[in-house]
Symmetry: C2
Subunit: 142 residues, 2 copies
């Protein structure tokens, strides 16, 4: 299976785009992140080592990463779009605590099977999904 960099390079060349040093740095930094990251946060991390890269480039590159399936958008209701990388990663969903904002990840194969059935029933071909549970964690109930 192709690794993330290869996936990106293939996508880039197929679209006659260019594999610039900025895109490489953004991809690398993004892949190091093991958690949902906002554009702003990613930009700050990148700035520490590469202060010349502009946030517009980060925005633009994240769009590309979504285009080739390496990144997925999430919105948890704080007004910022967050991204997580999806290639070769086990897909997971989220439980979000409305009390303290804690986010727990989970995965459930049965739900995914049911989703595919539903898609078939509605004559859709489904490529991605988003499942979020909102509530209160044990600590916040107390």
């Amino acid at each position: 299976m192709k690794n993330e960099k290869e996936v990106f390079e293939e996508y880039i060349s197929k679209k006659n785009l260019k594999f610039t040093s900025q895109r490489k740095i953004i991809l690398d930094t993004f892949l190091k992140e093991e958690w949902h990251i906002s554009t702003e946060e990613l930009y700050k991390k990148i700035s520490q080592k590469n202060p010349t890269i502009g946030i517009a480039t980060v925005y633009r590159t994240l769009k590309l990463l979504m285009g080739c399936g390496l990144a997925q958008e999430r919105q948890f209701g704080d007004g910022q779009t967050r991204y997580e990388h999806s290639h070769e990663h086990i897909h997971h969903d989220h439980i979000i605590c409305r009390g303290c904002g804690k986010i727990v990840e989970f995965k459930n194969d049965d739900i995914e099977k049911l989703q595919n059935e539903i898609a078939k029933k509605n004559r859709f071909k489904v490529y991605a999904h988003k499942l979020e549970l909102y509530g209160l964690c044990y600590d916040c109930i107390k």
Copy 2:
């Protein structure tokens, strides 16, 4: 079971807020809507009959409606927050076509049961959820 207006009035008085004519109009217009509506769209509908109501009031009132559980936020990735009313309505989820933007609603009890199990396992009390499937509808695959 209390109707929507009663739920809202109770919430309003419990918080020592006021049941103004604007809030009544916004609630009524919102409840008439049988589909996810954005603040902008709701504002436009309201403006037709009540041109003096400002969009800020619509924003503020929708926040209140969320607070008492009458409205639920959804984001389908078009940069606008959309709302649907939830009281006494059967909860449903969405399949979204990335081709034409079509949104189909569905409901599946088995998935909801699984969600509750997951919540319990993670020691969460879940009050709401959001499930969205993204893909292509039959027409767009062709």
